[in-house]
């Protein structure tokens, strides 16, 4: 199928969806293409889920500017898009004099970057905030503007808002080539060619490959894997309520102990350079490394309450900074590349910057009737029993609990599938509703979610996928076909 549009955004992670939402508020037509079955399938789905304050990156770097500005913008977006964010603040802990000097340096850098409210605390004050911290911690940098968030939910919110403003989102749509054509681009995809005046490259770990397709070979991306262990909600009392970092190393912010907006806690990540852009295997040495690392902050880890492990890939550019703006060599091609940490925090700032540049180049103006929100998403468990009764009366499917661990109803699952840029996979339903995220990890509700997806998407059960493009879950039985 041939499509014609003003802008194509390549990549449906937090960066791509934020850019799409910003572009969709202009009087431009835009299409986002994502190679996986759902948005937020790469780096966005497996990272530390932190909105950083902005003291890490060198003053004057693109990272520093985008981080501080992005953090500020999320305070507005949280209300506008009903984002799952808690402003917990963060601590960076020092256990030696050397590390103490390091965090003082961080504070000075943060002040220079324009981060508000930074303070140096002594160990006891830090333990007053987080009682399970190690007695060895002698000082900590307190950053009140940092927060924790649910990255998938934020990407979904950006995508839904973009869809509300007329943007088109194509999933299972991989870019196979980009040609210059009629002063614009012909973007070849697995779902046909998309003609566009502008191309935004937000392709995450594949951003250098996409740039090269369009003729820009000015940078390269190096994958870096980070592994995590997630703990059950019951363990939170033994861990932390907010974000706790160790003193940073040259390459990373270190292995942290951190709460999630769902009431869980995680430890990680480590940082492993690797060649593969897709290998998210969790390893035994990696687990040992993050357990050892986290123990420096919280000595007594409740390992029996671990419920899952996962790994994510960060896209590190060879400049070690974000590459944001129009390509130096290909006019009309805009990059949002090398978006490693603090990419999540920076996304709205990057989106605003690129949308402004493209608006200028295209002569576009803000849409007069642009919507700022997204469709309401009923969350059954958070309603009063009176509200629950009303909801069930209106739609009986809210009276059928599918996920018992998290009390998620069939109504919520159907909503997650039917809403703009809705779920198309089991994990997509899980990330939009939390179905299967509890203790049973989908043991009971998995088969029922598959059945609902099959029914609502009108596809046979064997076509229902877990997550990735070829992640089919069940097959027809041998012999005797289904009637």
């Amino acid at each position: 199928m041939e499509r014609k549009t003003d802008v194509v955004v390549i990549g449906g992670g937090i960066t791509g969806t934020a850019i799409l939402a910003a572009l969709a508020r202009l009087d431009l037509s835009c299409v986002l293409v994502e190679k996986e079955p759902d948005i937020a399938a790469g780096t966005t789905k497996a990272n530390s889920a932190i909105l950083h304050a902005g003291f890490d990156a060198p003053t004057g770097s693109m990272k520093a500017k985008m981080n501080v500005e992005g953090n500020r913008l999320y305070y507005e977006l949280r209300e506008e898009l009903n984002l799952d964010i808690e402003w917990t603040g963060s601590l960076v802990c020092a256990t030696t004099d050397e590390e103490k000097a390091q965090i003082e340096e961080l504070k000075a850098r943060g002040d220079a970057n324009g981060v508000p409210g930074l303070e140096i605390w002594d160990g006891d004050k830090a333990r007053g905030k987080e009682p399970n911290l190690s007695q060895k911690i002698c000082a900590a940098l307190w950053a009140p503007t940092a927060g924790i968030c649910w990255p998938f939910g934020m990407a979904a919110a950006f995508a839904e808002n973009a869809a509300e403003n007329g943007a088109e989102i194509l999933r299972d749509c991989e870019v196979t080539g980009i040609r210059a054509e009629n002063g614009g681009f012909a973007v070849e995809t697995t779902q046909g060619t998309v003609q566009a005046r502008f191309v935004v490259n937000a392709a995450g770990v594949f951003a250098d490959k996409v740039a090269a397709m369009a003729g820009d070979t000015s940078f390269s991306i190096h994958p870096r894997k980070g592994e995590y262990i997630l703990f059950d909600k019951t363990a939170q009392g033994k861990l932390v309520k907010g974000i706790v970092f160790p003193a940073p190393t040259k390459t990373t912010k270190g292995i942290l102990v951190c709460a999630t907006t769902h009431g869980n806690t995680f430890i990680g990540p480590n940082a492993q350079e690797q060649d593969s852009r897709e290998d998210t295997a969790v390893t035994t040495p990696g687990m040992d490394e993050i357990i050892a690392g986290a123990k420096k902050l919280v000595p007594e880890l409740p390992m029996g309450a671990a419920i899952t492990e996962f790994a994510g890939i960060r896209a590190v550019s060879d400049t070690n900074d974000f590459i944001v703006g129009e390509s130096k060599t290909v006019k009309g091609l805009y990059h949002a590349a090398g978006i490693q940490s603090p990419g999540l925090t920076s996304a709205p700032a990057i989106a605003r910057l690129l949308a402004d540049e493209i608006a200028k180049a295209a002569g576009a103006k803000a849409k007069a009737d642009a919507k700022t929100g997204r469709p309401a998403q009923p969350i059954f468990r958070e309603l009063s029993s009176g509200e629950q009764a009303k909801l069930i009366e209106k739609d009986a499917r809210y009276g059928r609990v599918i996920c018992r661990c998290e009390t998620i109803t069939e109504g919520e699952i159907v909503d997650a599938i039917k809403r703009p840029c809705g779920a198309r996979t089991v994990d997509g339903v899980k990330r939009r509703t939390r179905v299967g995220m509890g203790r049973c990890q989908g043991g009971f509700c998995g088969p029922r979610v598959i059945e609902i997806l099959s029914r609502e998407l009108n596809i046979p059960v064997p076509k229902v996928r877990k997550d990735g493009a070829d992640s089919y879950m069940y097959e027809e039985k041998l012999g005797g076909g289904r009637k």
Partner: protein, 422 residues
Amino acid sequence: MSEMYDVILVGGGPAGLTAAFSAQQNGAKKILVLERDREPGGILQQCVHNGFGLHHFKEELTGPGYAQRCYDLVKDLPEVEILVDTMVLEVRKDKTVCAINPKRGVMELHGKSIILTMGCRERTRGAIRIPGTRPAGVYTAGAAQRMVNMEGYIPGKKIVILGSGDIGLIMARRMSLEGCKVQAVLEICPFSNGLTRNIVQCLNDYDIPLHLSHTIVAIHGKDRVTGITAAKVDDKMRPIPGTEFEIDCDTVLLSVGLIPENELSNGLGLKMHPLTGGPIVDQRRETSEPGIFAAGNVVHVHDLVDFVSDEAEIAGKFAAKAALGEAGGAARDLAVTTGDNVRTCVPQHLRLGADAEKVRLFMRVTKPMRGKLKLSVMSGGEEVFSKPLMIAKPSEMIAVDLPEAKIASLSSELVVSLTEGK
């Protein structure tokens, strides 16, 4: 909706249905069973294999056959009402049960007695930390069993099963009968956690290798499982470097243990037992909260549904008596503790009144033992009961009845132990 019932059962599996029948038999007039699935019967409906019922119904039945027997006991009784497709959200100490279903919406129900019969759930991949990727094709054995036996789909064609519990063994045979190839069953313990009869007829009959003291050290595949790496483990269950080998498969089924489903019990603040994972109960199956009873896998995971039924009969009887105001007093509260080689024993205490009462103890041992074994129950230095055994295994629950005459005179705590004879 607000109604008063004599007995409300949370869960309509074999425990709930049997307890409901027992409550009716013991005089309860208004009994309500709340079941979250589309029909009563619980997990038995997906256990299509046979081997159930030899103790309780004196006949060999399939899982659905056993469920049908339980359902037939109560389906025509005017005293018993069953609501399916109904989820209990909360049970309160005042014995209010909050539940929802699509037809009746939000319900607040009141019981004079409540019996918790929620059953158990499976341990998951996360709980045992298997390294590797997270592709499709990794399922708990029970989830796959439901798809194969109730929905009509298979999880894959080349299968590795981790864990030799009964569900894993049964699924090995089931998948073989569906025309799939079961490559291996891996068990981290040096012994199987399933019944020997299942090793024979589910693995040996189909030439499926069982690797004891082995586990999965990596799962491979990006979108779908493409294979696993197995390794031998040492006596601390740590993989031994250098013993790794690859097994080609598209599916991994996990049968790594069951956990009593006690979210509602925890919400109630019931006293729980750290080893059984269920509420602490007395011989009547009353929990730490008066009027709230529990029976079946929610109390401790059974290997035989027959024992679940036995326990549910006890709970149903005493829940009915409590509802009718006929519960006898309890002058003595005696702990039942575990001694040598016994890991768990239910009930954990006896609340004894003036009337003689039969007491049945269910226990699990800590390790496999064989030879001249003696199971003994001691109280105040005296032997209350003893029984010779030839074989004892952690996977097989042992049930014994203490003689009524002895119970009447007990005055100090009971200690249950298993010793090797001289």
